[in-house]
């Protein structure tokens, strides 16, 4: 390749793509050509410089946005840890405030419960027992009676009627 034969398009792009640190024989050969051919060198610079500026602008632009994003914070504890700490502190405070009240109210509550238990439970139990006994007594009476209750008025129709008549006649 001499200086009159310019780089082919593929060679040109190989140079654009290549890293500055690339020391392969092929790339070195192309670089040698650039030293002898100002036209190809100018053409390469025409594209390379904007590409470098393009990268710089994108990097600066991304840095700018990244710094303004919510994910970038100082190395303080995370919001979750902060929230947990606050909740824990609030719970501890509530406990500290509520504990004396709870301690004060506890015996009274127990006494009240005792009282309530002792008042209500036996009375309820006794009333239930009384009710049961009364019912049983009634059943016993009904069963043991020779004449069923609905037929009671017929047990001594004459006597009752006679008494009634007597009383009426007396009147």
């Amino acid at each position: 390749m001499n200086s009159i034969d310019h780089l082919t398009e593929e060679q040109f792009y190989d140079l654009v793509i290549s890293n500055p640190t690339d020391s392969s024989v092929e790339v070195q050969h192309l670089r040698d050509h650039l030293l002898r051919c100002p036209e190809c060198a100018a053409e390469l610079a025409f594209l390379r410089q904007p590409l470098a500026d393009f990268r710089s602008s994108v990097t600066a632009w991304a840095d700018h946005h990244s710094n303004n994003r919510s994910w970038t914070r100082t190395s303080h504890p995370s919001s979750f840890a902060m929230l947990s700490a606050w909740l824990l502190a609030a719970a501890a405070l509530i406990l500290v405030i509520a504990l004396p009240f709870a301690a004060h109210r506890k015996p009274a509550t127990i006494a009240y419960r005792h009282a309530t238990y002792s008042d209500t439970k036996p009375s309820a139990a006794s009333s239930a027992t009384i009710g049961d006994e009364a019912l049983l007594e009634e059943v016993n009476q009904t069963v043991s009676s020779s004449i069923p209750t609905p037929m009671q008025p017929l047990a001594d129709p004459t006597g009752a009627a006679g008494n009634k008549i007597d009383s009426n006649s007396r009147n």
Partner: protein
Amino acid sequence: MSTRTPTADLFTQTSEAAAGALPTPFDDLGAVVEAHRLRVYRFLLASLRDADVAETLTQETFLRAWNSRSSFRGECSLATWLTRIALNLLRDHTRTNRFRFWRRVSAQAVDATEIASFLPHRDSALDTRLIATEQVGLLWQAVDTLSERQRTIFLLRFVEEMELSEIGAATGLPLSTVKSHLYRALAHIRERYSKLSRKAV
């Protein structure tokens, strides 16, 4: 001042739990995120030009990497592996939300001149600065006209400065195909850029 990310915070405890297993790069996920977050975010941002979506997909990249960490066997570098995950997410996003994506792009995408304005100027000469900014803007316009695959490969090479073999590993394409896409992308950009430059002059 050091920084930590929510993703890193999220997994710190789980990383400790996994300490009993064989050592992997994910034993210190916080360090992995810190080392690769900006690079992944930059690539996604340059591809989508939407800072919000880029952030979401960056977080998703690390989440997915963590979930499938057992499949990382060190056959390629961690950077390449993460890039592959980011590429898959990017593809899923642009495919499934294609219509919404383009609508969003038209409404919220960052203008090329805005990106060009971030160009750091080592040279203080005003005219040089203006020319460089304009050139970058023109290059962005040319990059916009590339196909999705060409643009991806172009960004991986010229923004992320990945080796061709790494790009092949990240995209799952043979080296020859990567080269061919790059040649075509460069040819297209060179042509468009020349045209736009002439028009601008």
